[in-house]
C-alpha cells in the first residue's frame, strides 16, 4: 500500500506539472491578444477563435491531454477526495512559475499560503 501511495503521488505530481505548463502556455497566448472591451457572447467567441489559431494554445492542449490520461489512471486507483486534494500541489508549481516565468511579484503571505498547502497535502496523504 505504501509503494502504491508513492506511485499515485508521483503520478499526481506529473499531472500537476502538465497542468502548470498548460496554464502557462494558455496565459501567455491570452496575454498576446487584445480582449474586446464588451463582455458579450459574440466578443467571447471571436476571442476564442483568435486563441485557437495560436500554436501556444495547441501546446497547452497537448499538455491537457497528457494530464487527463495520467489523471484517469490515478482516479481508477485512488479515492477522488484524496486525488483531488493532493492535486493542489499544482499551486506550488504555479507559484514558482508565476514568480519565475511570468515574473509576477508577490509577498510573504503568498509563500506562507503555499507552505500551508504543502502541509495540507502531507496530512491528506498520511491517512
Amino acid at each position: 500500500m505504501r509503494d502504491g501511495l508513492l506511485i499515485i503521488l508521483f503520478m499526481i505530481a506529473l499531472t500537476s506539472l502538465c497542468d502548470t505548463f498548460n496554464q502557462l502556455f494558455l496565459k501567455s497566448a491570452i496575454d498576446s491578444l487584445h480582449f474586446p472591451g464588451k463582455f458579450n457572447l459574440a466578443g467571447v467567441f471571436k476571442f476564442i477563435f483568435q486563441l485557437l489559431i495560436k500554436p501556444r494554445v495547441w501546446l497547452s492542449f497537448v499538455f491537457s491531454v497528457i494530464s487527463l490520461c495520467i489523471w484517469l489512471l490515478v482516479l481508477s486507483k485512488a479515492d477522488l477526495n484524496f486525488a483531488f486534494s493532493a492535486d493542489s500541489m499544482h499551486y506550488i508549481f504555479i507559484a514558482l512559475a508565476s514568480r519565475f516565468v511570468l515574473k509576477e511579484r508577490f509577498g510573504y503571505l503568498r509563500w506562507l499560503g503555499t507552505a500551508l498547502i504543502v502541509t495540507g497535502i502531507v496530512f491528506v496523504s498520511l491517512n
Binding site: 477526495n81 507559484a95 509576477e104 503571505l109
Partner: protein, 138 residues
C-alpha cells in the same frame, strides 16, 4: 503587471467554474471507475485502459464540462492575473470532498479533513496576498 480589479461579474464566473470543476472531477471519476478492476502495469495496458475509459459517456460529459470551463477561464484570464484568478476558483477543494462522500460513498478521516482545511487556508492566504498586491498597485 496587475491588470484590472476583480469585478462581481468575474467573481460569479469564477464561482460557476468552481461548480463546473467539481462536476468535471465527478464525471471523470465515474468514467475511470468503469474500468477500476483493470490492472495497469505498463504503457501498453495503460493504452488499453484509456481506450476503454474513453468509450464511457461519463468521460465525454466531463470533457464537455471542460470546454465550458475553458471558455470561462479564457474570459477571466484575459481580465485578471493568473495568481489572482486561481486562488478565487478554489472552493472546489471543499465541494469535491463533499460530492465524494455523498455521491461516491468515499470515507474521509478527521486527519484528511484537517489536511483539506489546511489546503483551503493556504488557498485563502494566497488570495489575501493577491489583495495586498492590488492595494500596493493603487
Amino acid at each position: 503587471m496587475f491588470k484590472k480589479k476583480v469585478t462581481l461579474k468575474i467573481l460569479l464566473l469564477l464561482f460557476a467554474s468552481d461548480i463546473l470543476e467539481t462536476a468535471i472531477h465527478f464525471f471523470f471519476k465515474k468514467g475511470a471507475l468503469t474500468r477500476a478492476e483493470f490492472a495497469v502495469t505498463d504503457l501498453a495496458s495503460a493504452a488499453v485502459f484509456l481506450k476503454a475509459v474513453f468509450s464511457s459517456p461519463f468521460l465525454w460529459a466531463g470533457l464537455l464540462t471542460v470546454v465550458a470551463v475553458f471558455i470561462i477561464w479564457s474570459t477571466v484570464l484575459s481580465r485578471i492575473d493568473l495568481s489572482v484568478a486561481v486562488p478565487i476558483a478554489s472552493f472546489s477543494y471543499i465541494l469535491v470532498p463533499v460530492v465524494s462522500v455523498i455521491f461516491l460513498h468515499e470515507q474521509i478521516s478527521v486527519l484528511r479533513w484537517a489536511g483539506i482545511l489546511f489546503i483551503l487556508a493556504g488557498v485563502i492566504l494566497v488570495s489575501l496576498s493577491s489583495k495586498e498586491r492590488i492595494a500596493e498597485s493603487k
